[in-house]
């Protein structure tokens, strides 16, 4: 009886630990070799045939097609530079420049990877649409209220994710975070 109870206990512990760790790994989007710059993180290796098992599992679970490394690199941000989760009811300012790339696009998704409905049907910017300062830097304001300049409407969703995709870029597996890869800062300006 003690043996049965003991092995049952061990099996329950195994199931909880094993499935719990899998669930955590997949919901956090864990994979090896992240490239983190400020609030932005990319997994360049996920876009290659060498993608690790964690990356493969999370690709399958989300049901997306990852950006292939020969095509570009996708950086995502779900929190601002102070680590606060991005809130669609706040005014969030993205300022700065991007690493060298032929084109880039910035897109706003909800947590499930769906676009967010808004009145002006804008879900992001491409590098050609953006209004820049004289020195080439730009400022994008993600807010639910109409805003002059580069306004990225959030539709008032509680949580969102920003994806900055660099196309035809030198940023890749061997890139180290540093001055060659400047990413825009993400800061909350005001929160109602």
């Amino acid at each position: 009886m003690r043996l049965l109870l003991g092995s049952l206990f061990a099996l329950v512990v195994a199931a909880v630990v094993g499935l719990g760790a899998t669930y955590l790994a997949l919901t956090r989007g864990a994979a090896f070799g992240p490239l983190t710059i400020g609030s932005w993180t990319a997994w360049p290796k996920t876009g290659t045939a060498d993608a690790d098992p964690y990356a493969r599992a999370s690709i399958a679970r989300i049901g997306r097609l990852p950006t292939a490394l020969g095509d570009g690199v996708a950086f995502s941000a779900s929190a601002d530079d102070n680590g606060r989760p991005l809130d669609g009811r706040c005014d969030v300012v993205l300022a700065g420049v991007t690493p060298a790339a032929r084109f880039w696009t910035l897109t706003l998704y909800n947590g499930d990877g769906e676009l967010v409905a808004n009145s002006i049907k804008r879900s992001g910017f491409t590098s050609q649409e953006i209004v820049r300062h004289a020195d080439g830097s730009f400022e994008i304001v993600a807010t639910p209220r109409a805003n002059p300049g580069n306004w990225l409407p959030t539709g008032g969703v509680v949580r969102y994710v920003l994806l900055l995709r660099l196309y035809d870029t030198a940023v890749g597996v061997s890139t180290k975070a540093g001055r060659e890869v400047p990413m825009p800062t993400v800061n909350v300006r005001s929160c109602p």
């Binding site: 512990v13 195994a14 719990g20 493969r56 399958a60 292939a68 020969g70 696009t105 676009l115 649409e129």
Partner: protein
């Protein structure tokens, strides 16, 4: 007491194995991955344009709305495929994915260096069976080896401004993916 601690430790170790096993098995059992989603609506060995993602519906999550996209769901069991994609004005890319949505190759318009991206897609076996003395092989054709028999080719053209979307879509509409042994359609 020590007995229970040991059991918990053993359980945790076993849990590690369970964790690794589920991570490795998951892609093979996923029913909602990109390939499975698309295989319901997309025919085999033909280029099928994908609808633009909107807030209401999207063929798959995290699609870039600035791109016009099309996919060719391929099956190489009948023989190699020929792919040709005319490049659009801004940026065009072709990415290859295995059955389990792992990107194994991608090429863009600049790397192709021509007005049309032309590729031959085949399995490693089919490649090794190709006659070696064929002069055109090396010079004109870019050959891509697929690790799996089936998979996806994602063809995407950038519309730098929303007004240029029709142009990007029309460039994609002329993309072809056909069996290599089929006669070319007359123009």
């Amino acid at each position: 007491m020590i007995r229970w601690l040991l059991l918990a430790l053993g359980g945790a170790l076993l849990g590690g194995i369970v964790h690794l096993a589920t991570i490795i098995i998951l892609p093979r059992t996923a029913t909602q991955d990109a390939y499975a989603r698309l295989s319901r609506s997309v025919p085999v060995n033909t280029v099928a344009p994908l609808p633009e993602p909107t807030a209401e519906s999207a063929p798959m999550p995290f699609m870039d709305p600035a791109f016009a996209s099309a996919v060719c769901r391929y099956d190489l069991s009948q023989g190699p495929l020929k792919l040709s994609v005319p490049v659009s004005l801004a940026y065009t890319s072709v990415s290859f994915y295995t059955r389990y949505d792992v990107a194994y190759y991608a090429i863009n318009d600049r790397a192709a260096g021509r007005r049309v991206i032309e590729l031959d897609l085949m399995t490693v076996e089919q490649h090794s069976q190709m006659p070696e003395d064929e002069e055109i092989t090396a010079a004109d054709r870019l050959i891509v080896e697929s690790p799996t028999l089936t998979g996806l080719i994602a063809i995407r053209a950038l519309a730098p401004e929303p007004g240029l979307m029709p142009m990007a879509q029309s460039a994609i509409a002329n993309a072809r993916c056909v069996r290599a042994d089929e006669p070319k359609p007359s123009r």
